[in-house]
Amino acid sequence: MRNWAPIEWTIALRFLTEGIMQTVFILTGIAMGVGVIVFMSAMLAGLQANFIKRVLTSQAHIQIIPPDEIARPLRSGTDIVEGAIVQRPSQRILSIDQWQTIRTAMKARPDVVTVSPTATGSALAIRGDASRSITLTGMEPELYFQIVRVPDYIVVGTSKLESDDILIGTELAKDLGATIGDKLNLSVSSGATRVLTITGIFDLGNKSANERNTFVALRTAQSLLDLIGGVTTLDVTVTDIYAAESIAQDISAALPIQADSWIKTNAQFFTAVSAQQSSNTLIRSFVGLSVAFGIAAVLVVSVIQRSKDIGILRAMGARRGQVLGVFLIQGGVLGLIGSLIGSSLGAGALGLWHGTARQADGTELFPLILEPSLFVIAAAVATLTGVAAGMAPALRAARLDPVEAIRG
């Protein structure tokens, strides 16, 4: 025996297919609305993901550094301040106090993935007549490269580092006229010098980074910067990148150090994202509302056109609830089908746009992120919107006086 749908469904679908012109017009309207929302949301998510990926392949989630040195006003007793004007001291290169203990404490946290100690300072790179000031980052490659994927950016040579090796950027290599195998003379302000061999040249995709950044083994940097046994920074990655700021605050409250999350150091980006998100929400709401009003308008007209049918159905024993159902179903079906078409249109447009829009360097402007959940949510919301929009016309239909309907 065939299993038939409830009669409300049959009637609703027949009404929609019989008034095919109206149905097609309203479906087009819904589809365009949903398409715009899907396109916008997916593109925004893509741009955001792209930015985060870029940031987080060149930066730790949390950086732990020594606290600022603060000069306090000179006091001769409580509330009597003698030297009231306080000059901020110049910040020396400082090692983190007891950094091994802090590292152990950090590693013990379940939300922390890696902790990478680095010794960073500035130096002068000299080759022949040319010299350039550089940032010298000493680190343990097996840890640090998990955070900043330098090996992925190597264009010539290798990322392997012995104690007398150095990795430099493409711009610096060009400025100094150096290539792999060449020797580089480093000197720091204290007067210490050392000769290192270039083993790899990287391109981080950013000119000034390629000019300034250099990587050496931790011990090499420690000895050059006169930081034997000490580190200037602990780079930390965490399991949930969006929890980074609260973890950072947690850490700075518990330990005598300063912890900065990537969220804090990229505050501008997050302000931009949240502004974009609220305008996106606003646009979505208005598109949703106009879709809802469109559906309601079409159904109101349909109720008027079909008042005789409704009257005859009521005379034949159709209950008010059944008539209500017929129009609510129409609203829901319009929303659902419209959103399915719209989602496909939005995704298709996004694919086209993704295929043509390129950044200056020819890489994609944003990754194509089409979460199935976006479509499911769009369909569910559109269906519910359709049902809600159908409510007023459906109630009107259900309350129709059959005598009036049949006589009119």
């Binding site: 038939w4 049959t10 019989e18 024993g317 159709a318």
Partner: protein, 236 residues
């Protein structure tokens, strides 16, 4: 045997509580016995349709009682009236009023569909049987509106019979048809009345047809003024 219909002192006023309040029906008493075939006549505006709507439970009287098969409808809620209407009363209207989005057979099934909630295989057999009865087997899967007026009215009659009602109310069922089609539709109702003992109450302006009924009720100014029985056998 209980009467299919019993009306007691039915009054109906429109625009109640406004300055233009008018009473259209002024205390109508009427009983229809099972298997009767009755014509309802009267001038335009005399209240025939109003009365039919009250009998058909589509409208409530301002006062008075309506009993169907001995059951009083006074205490019934809106949904109770709807259920009773669906199961005991069939309607045929002047303008056939088939639902154009459905085929003839589906229109005939519609009372069963709305009563049962969803389609069953048996419903189609019933509908096909009824359409065979009204000689429309060839047209049963046609869109309802792709038929002549007479054919559509025969579909409407089949539909009125779908729930095997005790009473069929027909408001000028032949009013819109040419005389040949009108004769055919009338004969069909008469035949069904004979075969199934379904009670018919038919509003008509056609005295010719009315004379072929068991009884003629004359409604004049909201009152039943004359009840003539057995006109068929009366001398011309």
């Amino acid at each position: 045997m209980v009467d299919v219909l019993a009306l007691g002192q039915i009054r109906k006023s429109y625009n109640v509580g406004t300055p233009v309040e008018t009473e259209v029906l002024h205390g109508i008493d009427l009983t229809l016995a099972a298997g009767e075939f009755v014509a309802l006549m009267g001038p335009s505006g005399s209240g025939k349709s109003t009365l039919l709507n009250i009998i058909g439970l589509l409208d409530r009287p301002t006062s008075g009682t309506v009993s169907i098969n001995g059951q009083s409808t006074a205490g019934l809620s809106e949904s109770g009236l709807t259920a009773l209407r669906g199961h005991t009363i069939g309607f045929v209207f002047q303008y056939h009023y088939l639902i154009s989005a459905f085929t003839a057979a589906e229109n005939v099934m519609m009372p069963m569909l709305v009563s049962h909630g969803r389609r069953t295989d048996a419903m189609q057999d019933v509908a096909y049987g009824l359409l065979a009865d009204v000689e429309l087997t060839r047209w049963r899967d046609n869109r309802a509106t792709n038929m002549s007026g007479g054919q559509q009215q025969r579909v409407a009659i089949a539909r009125a019979l779908a729930m095997n009602p005790s009473l069929v109310l027909a408001d000028e069922p032949t009013g819109n048809l040419d005389s040949v089609s009108a004769d055919g539709v009338f004969d069909l109702m008469r035949r069904i009345n004979k075969e199934r003992s379904t009670t018919f109450l038919i509003v008509t302006h056609n005295l010719e047809l009315a004379r072929r009924c068991d009884r003629i009720l004359d409604v004049i100014d909201g009152r039943i003024s004359g009840q003539e029985a057995g006109r068929l056998s009366a001398p011309a």
